[in-house]
Assembly symmetry: D2
Homo-oligomer: 291 residues x 4
């Protein structure tokens, strides 16, 4: 009888959120870093794999995972279930252990600054490369080279990760862009100048940082640098950003820069991005070179 | 400029929870039904497909979707993202429109009654078949026959749906059992008798309602009835309930009752059950006969 | 000992091509039909599902499955392993029983006539609709209405099935186009006039039967008719025909004709088409209306 | 006009077997090795990846891929379409470049010797490890260590690869067993002694080399060695060998030797094994350690 009762308690405890107290587990931390560039604190969430605490000398590859417009550092963890997905893929051997970090680049529109680029009054990109990355890679046991650093993101964060890798191509081994805002959908290049609207300022920054134009205008040297990165673009057939993703795929092909391109069923939704993690993390992992 | 601004607002609004106000949408309702059998109110959540309000005379097939131990009617909707999955599969044509309902058969252990079977002091099964199903199928526009009624569930709800379909085989066209509690893991048949412990009472009810023993003991007539149902059993290779699911598969095969059996990567987790919905709903849909 | 020996013989016999003599099986037949239109015999291969011989009064839905340039009626059966795929999907419940037929519209270039359209001296389309379809649907137990007739194909046959469904939209319930020759890749509309080259004549017919232009030029009435068909377009990201498939997807979307669009990994290869069958047959099946 | 004509010729040439003459390509070779152990020649087929001829100093990881009963070295290449699958997975980045070799261990029953183990009069295992592997790894540019050597196979070859890895655990980094003959299905341990029947002799060898008993009887040291290999077992729910694969999974779990276990839809068929390659090659690749 005791055995039965214990059995069902196992069912219970495994079903509950507080399960598996006795096993080594991956961890999520929510932290804040003060930015001198932005003159404010910025939050981030970070995933540390199971062995992180067990092997205090081991260093890990890292994935920077960017959220979308109107979102924050919590999105990938709360709605994207990042920890659950990463745990399963690592346990099943489909991805290697890695650190995954998502910084806050948004929040409620129009009150909050949204965007990954430098904008008048909000130099987020400068913050990202001169403060955030150095902080993370010294605070946590990150290997810290191109071969073991990757970037990915959804929507505005898909455009952000693509453009970051385009301009800082010596820093990233691979990019996985989901439903990416490769440029403004309508293709209009007019720049607005209302200095009071964070949305308009963001708008301008996206126009100025078109991932498509970047490839079109790339020199042969830059194209060769872009070939040092492994690219993956994933966008739903019902996504309102699909045409710009197609255009990106076509200019990359014309520039003879290899990339994987996928159109799956779906729209601009969390179901799409969550399922993309199952492709993204193995892709990122197999393009790390430390394995 | 106006066009650009509008474009980015579209990004924003689609990303936000309040999007798509102008389109017909599926709905989730949270309701309570009073049970005379249980002498208390019981909550349920129900999914109504897009056309439900548009076609006021149309009737729909229905799926009863059961939660697990320690869970409630909200689980499939909150952590299982049922609405998002159903919307996508229906939009993509992989599942037909259907009503999906999940009743509360649990809550915090050990305070709350958990379980789908009749137990001393808690005749849940009687409630389900004499009060809940009749209520749902008169309150909503359900077709209401075997050919258009299915049942599925996870863990304790996987065992519940299997056993319900076994005993009420004239009511269901198909069953999809995920990580199912086909019986108590250890295989111990001892029955405990502490009338004060809801957990022990549940324990006994699971032993007495073993889905495996049911097949072993089935008469030829009953076996023939079980063949009128299409069966699907799906359990992870890291699930602590896998051996009992294997045993169920083997006794079904021995009894020559066709079933689909799958072992995928994963454990007793929401990632497993969420991904199972992508197989479950198309399976359920193609076994409805009204299409 | 006898039991062991028998066991291994089972391994042997199941592994061998001549296995399963005692079970009802699906069948492939190779036949020839004389065409007055073409003034020659044309071969076809046909798949008859397991129950075909067992239920002599049952009628079946039908899929017309078209091969590509330089191919023949044998391709889907020999390299596409159509019988094996159909048998598995039907056994697993993912597709319903159906008849599948593939007519010869090609062979060695430049000796043989290739193509699905009417060309000077070779009215294949006339043959298909006035001789082939009527012959098949009287010779075999085909249901024979739009709701239970579908068409699919690869490359030249993907363009053929799309164009056939566009012009004969009252005949087909669904279309699955793989790596389709939606028009000539370069987009050149010049028509050549060498009456001696079968390749040039085919070339002209593909230009004249552009699936993309068809949608662009469709009247509102025709667009409404096209909406009565369920469309699926599937093309690899390394396929040299991908841009025309993208263009087709975009004009269909602009015309507000729903279609499923997928870009998977791969090129213009049999691995792509064979794997497409696993999506195609369930898609075709769930859009038949007799189920 | 010239452009159009060229376009369609591209369609043609790409569709044809003689396409892509101008690109580097992977190669298949069919060779024969003389065996002193077996006192006869044995054929093998070998896949060499695209870069093999281009980089004359590069060394590669290797996969030994075993066929089933009644089969030969040609099976994986002719019905398994190994070259097409490997080319696609390597091009898409899902598997790294590797050499894949399949030796002949069978042919028509009962005339030919079938089997991977040492049998009275036919010491195939001795041939494999003392003649075949050394020959291949000196004749081709193989890295030649455990970290870069893997083994996989179907049915009799699934049992062969499992048992080989069990006994020579210092040689292989990973194993992928498909529909494996883990032991004789009926579980009968009687050994027959007719020295004239190759089938009975094979039968005995399979009984004596039970992969299940091997784990049950393994010492703690051996179990630890088995943990140095990454294991994957993949078997269809309609396969007549499924119960022995389940038993293997259960004894491995009891011995606390991690393995991936999957049950997918299907039987003992080439559709199953062909589709398994899409899981097998990425699995093998990510467990090579030279990447």
């Amino acid at each position: 009888m005791k055995r039965i009762f214990i059995s069902l308690l196992i069912v219970c405890s495994i079903s509950s959120a507080s399960a598996q107290l006795d096993r080594a587990r991956s961890k999520i931390k929510s932290k804040t870093i003060h930015s001198n560039v932005l003159n404010t604190g910025r939050n981030y969430n970070i995933y540390l794999p199971i062995s992180y605490d067990l092997n205090p000398n081991k260093r890990y590859p890292i994935l920077y995972l960017l959220h979308g417009l109107n979102g924050t550092n919590k999105d990938w963890f709360e709605r994207g279930h990042l920890k659950d997905v990463a745990d399963q893929l690592i346990a099943g051997g489909e991805a290697c252990e890695m650190i995954i970090v998502s910084p806050d680049a948004g929040g409620n529109i129009p009150e909050e600054w949204n965007g990954y680029f430098n904008m008048p009054g909000w130099n987020y990109e400068t913050f990202f490369f001169t403060e955030f990355v150095p902080h993370i890679e010294s605070e946590y046991r990150v290997i810290g080279n191109k071969a073991n650093r990757a970037i990915a993101g959804l929507s505005m964060g898909g455009g952000g990760s693509t453009q970051y890798a385009q301009r800082y191509s010596s820093m990233f081994s691979s990019v996985y862009a989901m439903s990416a805002l490769m440029s403004i959908p309508e293709g209009n290049s007019t720049v607005t100048t209302n200095p009071n609207s964070k949305m308009e300022i963001l708008n301008n920054s996206v126009i100025e940082n078109s991932c498509i134009d970047f490839v079109k205008n790339a020199s042969d040297t830059k194209k060769e640098e872009l070939r040092s990165i492994v690219w993956y673009v994933d966008c739903g057939d019902d996504d309102f950003l699909i045409d710009r993703n197609i255009e990106f795929y076509q200019v990359m092909r014309a520039a003879q820069i290899p990339l994987q391109f996928r159109v799956r069923d779906g729209g601009h939704t969390w179901e799409y991005w969550h399922s993309a993690l199952y492709t993204c993390l193995p892709f990122i992992a197999r393009n790390f070179k430390n394995r």
